[in-house]
Symmetry: C2
Subunit: 184 residues, 2 copies
């Protein structure tokens, strides 16, 4: 469950590749052959990343792609959002503002923030969705994870465990953490 698409995998790999080589331009062919992913499909993904402003493309011979954002200030979440749309575990777990904010890199979208919710086939139609609140909490927690990791974290091969800083833990509320000791 909750699997990412290939497009996302390819995009993440490419982004990581570019982030490892600042200044250099890598062509779609380079990356595709390097990691054994279909060149044609990667090109499609790169085009999308280019439109969203995450990479800069240069055409012609010896052209290619370069990273166009700060790796330390760009979360994995926004990259994935550019490729797959906003993160929403369930239809109702989003709001207009969030959905609009997702998917663009630097170019300061700022549209007239209309707050028409997407057609909530489930939760809006029937007023009494019993799990709305709790699911929203889970959703926010998972979203936060995607937000914490940046492009830079993708290229740091180090598996050292960086401890969690305090002050964040209270922001989103995990309910019964003792439960985590059970399994996992």
């Amino acid at each position: 469950m909750l699997r990412l698409t290939r497009r996302s995998e390819y995009g993440i790999i490419a982004i990581a590749h570019l982030a490892q080589r600042p200044g250099e331009a890598a062509s779609a062919r380079d990356i595709a052959e390097r990691y054994g992913i279909p060149k044609r499909l990667l090109a499609e993904v790169m085009k999308q990343l280019s439109h969203r402003g995450f990479v800069r493309s240069s055409r012609g011979a010896s052209g290619g792609y370069q990273l166009a954002v700060d790796p330390t200030r760009t979360s994995v979440r926004v990259v994935l959002a550019a490729l797959e749309g906003p993160f929403e575990m369930v239809q109702c777990a989003t709001d207009g503002a969030r959905a609009l904010e997702d998917g663009e890199a630097g170019r300061a979208v700022a549209p007239a923030a209309s707050s028409h919710f997407a057609q909530n086939t489930l939760c809006e139609l029937l007023g009494s969705c019993p799990i709305r609140g709790p699911v929203q909490r889970i959703h926010d927690r998972m979203r936060l994870v995607l937000e914490e990791f940046t492009i830079r974290d993708l290229i740091s091969g180090g598996d050292g465990a960086v401890p969690m800083t305090a002050g964040l833990s209270t922001a989103f509320a995990p309910p019964a953490v003792a439960a985590a000791v059970r399994k996992s």
Copy 2:
């Protein structure tokens, strides 16, 4: 991205419904009409939950389903795993043991744990997947979130923020938590 299926939503709703009414038996029709979900499909989901041991079914007139597990000791993750298979954001982000462990409720599976990985079309074939380690970290963090929330948390409408207990935070390592202050 990372959206749950309807089956999961329906299953979670049903589980929550049953957890709110301990002892009572609710039929598929009851639940379906109550929340406006297709009765026939819900029945399919309930059958699956019954096979996995999460609910107990009783046939015949005045039959229905009852919760068969301890709501405080059953994570959302295992419920979802029973409906959609194990949580894996990418193909390589799992291992044999985990995949086997997922999806069963109480009945102590304990199969001869063969550790043949699934066909890793991407990461195994080409030795050099650059994002393997980092993605695994993200994966584990998200998995932990699903593990922390229990069935009981689904029915507590209270939005009170329970603080995170210490001692857990160091288990899985978030890399640059300061990043979270940026957005969100």
